[in-house]
């Protein structure tokens, strides 16, 4: 193990990604320290989801470099083409990141508890007796212990999303990625999910959160990243960001949102 004392949790350098003719990410760089909470905001189609998905290899990048706490998962040589590390290594590195989706992606054929214990059992080979108490503790933490034996279809959107968070946490990730975790929810249900994420922030979980919730970005995030047209236009500590946005496009966006 290399020394990881001062390495940032995520270091992404000059990420390029195209879908066919369209270059969706045009050189995105981001650095994130342990315990930081960064909110990613920006107009629709600006590449926020794509960037997040590149970080944990749901999409492959064309060019650039991604390191997780000093360990490179993809690098680019002098020819500029991205080269990923070997599969097993890649999976191990990606496993350090948990992800929560806009549409939850819970496993409908499993109960809430099974959803949470499945990956620790199948991927990490943990024994049931060992993981169930931890899963129950996580479900208690997100306020859903009483729903243990319910199937996801019986839950509200907010409850589903909290199960999804517990499920991701059960793998003990060092970083959590959220892609618009409240966008598919009725307005009255967003609060319970945001409270859960806020609680994680208080526990110093490193989190990258794509969101349209400006109030959440302002109050919970340590920094805010504004993306537009496949680029990071502005990235600053959140207090500064909202008090005095520098870039005209940021100002126009915030003006429309607030």
């Amino acid at each position: 193990m290399p020394s990881t004392m001062n390495e940032p949790m995520i270091r992404a350098r000059d990420i390029h990604k195209r879908f066919g003719e369209v270059e969706v990410l045009r050189g995105v760089s981001l650095q994130m320290d342990k315990g930081e909470v960064i909110a990613v905001i920006g107009p629709s189609g600006s590449g926020k989801s794509t960037f997040l998905r590149c970080l944990n290899h749901l999409e492959t990048i064309d060019r650039g470099r991604i390191e997780i706490e000093g360990e490179a998962m993809v690098t680019s040589g002098s020819d500029g083409l991205a080269r990923y590390v070997a599969d097993a290594e890649l999976r191990r590195i990606c496993r350090r990141m948990g992800m929560v989706f806009q549409h939850f992606n819970l496993f409908p054929h499993m109960t809430v508890l099974q959803n949470v214990i499945e990956a620790p059992m199948v991927v990490k080979g943990q024994r049931r007796e060992e993981i169930v108490p931890r899963a129950e503790a996580l479900l208690r933490k997100v306020g859903l212990l009483d729903k243990c034996d319910a199937y996801p279809s019986r839950l509200s959107g907010g409850q589903k999303q909290r199960v999804a968070i517990a499920r991701a946490l059960a793998m003990e990730p060092d970083i959590m990625l959220f892609d618009e975790p409240t966008s598919a929810l009725d307005p009255e249900l967003t609060g319970e999910v945001l409270r859960t994420i806020r609680q994680l922030a208080e526990e110093r979980m490193t989190m990258l959160v794509v969101t349209h919730e400006m109030g959440f970005a302002r109050e919970v995030a340590s920094s805010v990243v504004f993306m537009d047209g496949g680029l990071i236009v502005e990235a600053r500590p959140s207090a500064e960001f909202f008090a005095a946005p520098e870039h005209p496009r940021t100002r126009a966006f915030l003006h429309n949102m607030l």
Partner: protein
């Protein structure tokens, strides 16, 4: 009534041949069909294409023709040519044919599973194999129950095709008695046997569907 009871014995014997063919075909065609479906959707392009060709061939020609080919013509094919006894020949033809139909049902079922399920599994660190085994295939089962029910009921009735190989299945047993006794009663009793078998199947599938009804998607 006494007459009906007297012919139940031989018809039941014929049913055994029918049921034997039915169960052996299922036992072979289900795993083979699943394997074909997985190859068909795999990223090994040439293999996937080859399977596509196989499915086209097996679904595009009559089962009766395949049956006759394997029994009568296969022995004369160079290299692979073997003479199979009648029952094994029937098993091979049925298994190969039904595997093709099952493969299409499996493929459609697998492809109906939302991409989000694969992504949800992947970000939890699951491999492709784990994702298939634990997430995709179990959900596929629920979705394919209705077409599978249809297909297996068809299989029960298709087994009667083996009369061309002079195997004493239910239908052939009935026909033998009809010709001997000059009465159509054996046909009616045979129909009752077939109905009973398909009834049990329908009932079995209903139970399965109920069991899978514990969750919605």
């Amino acid at each position: 009534m006494d007459y009906v009871i007297s012919i139940i014995g031989p018809l039941a014997e014929g049913s055994l041949v029918t049921l034997k063919l039915f169960f052996i075909t299922l036992a072979l065609a289900l795993p083979l069909g699943l394997a074909l479906a997985l190859v068909r959707i795999s990223r090994f392009r040439s293999l996937a294409l080859a399977v596509g060709g196989y499915l086209w061939l097996m679904r595009g020609t009559p089962l009766m023709l395949q049956l006759l080919f394997i029994y009568f013509a296969l022995p004369f094919v160079p290299v692979v040519g073997v003479r199979l006894p009648d029952f094994p020949a029937a098993v091979v033809a049925f298994a190969l044919n039904y595997a093709a139909y099952f493969a299409e049902i499996f493929r459609a079922g697998i492809q109906s599973i939302d991409r989000g399920q694969y992504e949800g599994a992947k970000v939890l660190g699951m491999s492709y194999g784990q994702t298939m085994r634990r997430i995709v295939l179990p959900q596929m089962v629920k979705r394919i129950l209705p077409p599978m029910s249809n297909e297996t009921i068809t299989l029960v009735k298709d087994t009667s095709l083996i009369y061309v190989l002079a195997l004493n299945d239910l239908l052939r047993a009935a026909r033998g008695i009809v010709q001997r006794d000059f009465t159509i009663t054996p046909f009616i009793v045979a129909a009752a046997f077939y109905l009973l078998m398909t009834l049990v199947l329908t009932w079995g599938f209903q139970r399965l569907e109920k069991r899978y009804a514990v969750y919605d998607e």
